[in-house]
């Protein structure tokens, strides 16, 4: 199964047509795939809170939006999630590379990984963790759930899900 294609197929099938990204090594394939989809307008952001602002505007303009980012972004977007996305009740699927989990080669990434789920729980953000490639089968349901409840929803995707880092 090509999970990059599967994620993009599900985004398109759920009418998500505006996607902003802040890159991560693990996300390179899915970002490249999004760039190739004519149904999706892709706008890279310089910072994740900026991206959430773009998504909020696009949503109010009638387009379903999503953000793709690294879990370190949770550390910089708490205020935006609380005072924009949640306060105004806007849906926002967040496809998040979960750095610092199993098969992570960079020690510093673990420092935010240990806080990621706790922060999301504190924010009352529905959170899903993709560890096996087959977990992607839930993605379609998660998107439907997000747009049903008008909340930000986190999909944490770890190194194992993406196939690891070569021989590590």
């Amino acid at each position: 199964m090509n999970i990059d294609k599967r994620i993009c197929d599900d985004l398109v099938a759920n009418d998500v047509s505006f996607v902003t990204t802040v890159p991560c090594k693990q996300l390179a394939g899915v970002i490249e795939e999004i760039d190739q989809r004519s149904e999706i307008f892709h706008i890279p952001s310089n910072k994740e809170d900026e991206g959430m602002g773009l998504c909020a505007g696009a949503f109010m303009g009638g387009k379903r939006s999503a953000i793709i980012m690294q879990n370190t972004a949770i550390g910089v977007t708490i205020n935006t999630l609380a005072t924009l996305t949640q306060f105004y009740r806007m849906p926002l699927p967040m496809i998040i590379s979960y750095r610092g989990e199993l098969r992570e080669p960079v020690a510093c990434q673990v420092e935010m990984a240990v806080h990621t789920k706790a922060l999301l729980a504190q924010m009352h953000i529905p959170t899903y963790h993709f560890h096996w490639q087959k977990d992607v089968e839930e993605f379609d349901n998660i998107l439907k759930y997000t747009f049903m409840c008008n909340k930000p929803v986190a999909i944490l995707t770890d190194a194992n899900f993406w196939g690891g880092y070569g021989d590590q």
């Binding site: 706008i43 900026e50 991206g51 602002g53 109010m60």
Partner: protein, 184 residues
């Protein structure tokens, strides 16, 4: 002129357009001067007026004006390259530059000292950047809205605030009526 006088001045120009208004006093002032369903008032999230307005402009065809401040743009400087590199003609960014953080007690910003936001916007790749003095804003703003090119306006003015109440509209109501106005 101070910001509230500028907003009073341009209210007839922006009344019929989609406006995303900066957090704090700018939104409170616009709400008091000319509340419209086409106004999206930011109640939190300093710095994102330009991003929200730009996302809205990219998603639909109606003209969109983001009213921002110098302090807020400095908070989210990354917005300028994003706007420059994805320019859309229906977008106008109006930066009311009073050289201070008005909502928090008029502490000076760097834009009031050595930093030129017009020069920053130009360096970021924005093609149409206009720096204008407060009293001259009206015609410049009208031309920017009517133009097919995206425009960044830096409006230099005095710092100073008026006393006024907070916005008590529920955020979901603000969003709902704004989205209805967008869709109408």
């Amino acid at each position: 002129m101070i910001r509230s006088e500028i907003l009073k001045d341009i209210a007839p120009i922006i009344r019929d357009h989609l406006v995303v208004c900066n957090i704090g006093l700018p939104s409170q002032e616009l709400h008091l001067i000319d509340d419209q369903p086409t106004n999206f008032y930011m109640l939190g999230t300093m710095g994102l007026s330009s991003s929200i307005g730009f996302g809205l402009a990219l998603a639909q065809d109606k003209p969109v004006i983001s009213i921002d401040g110098d302090g807020s743009v400095l908070t989210n400087l990354g917005t300028l390259p994003t706007i420059a590199n994805n320019a859309t003609g229906n977008y106008t960014l109006l930066i009311i530059d009073n050289g201070s953080y008005g909502s928090t007690g008029d502490q000076p910003t760097y834009a009031g000292r050595k930093t030129s936001l017009a020069a920053v916007a130009t360096a970021c790749g924005c093609d149409n950047v206009v720096e204008v003095q407060d009293k001259d804003l009206g015609p410049v703003l009208r031309a920017a809205i009517d133009s097919d090119d995206m425009t960044i306006i830096v409006c230099k003015c005095d710092s100073g605030n008026i006393k006024l109440p907070v916005i008590t509209l529920d955020p979901v109501v603000i969003k709902h009526r704004f989205m209805q106005a967008v869709a109408s």
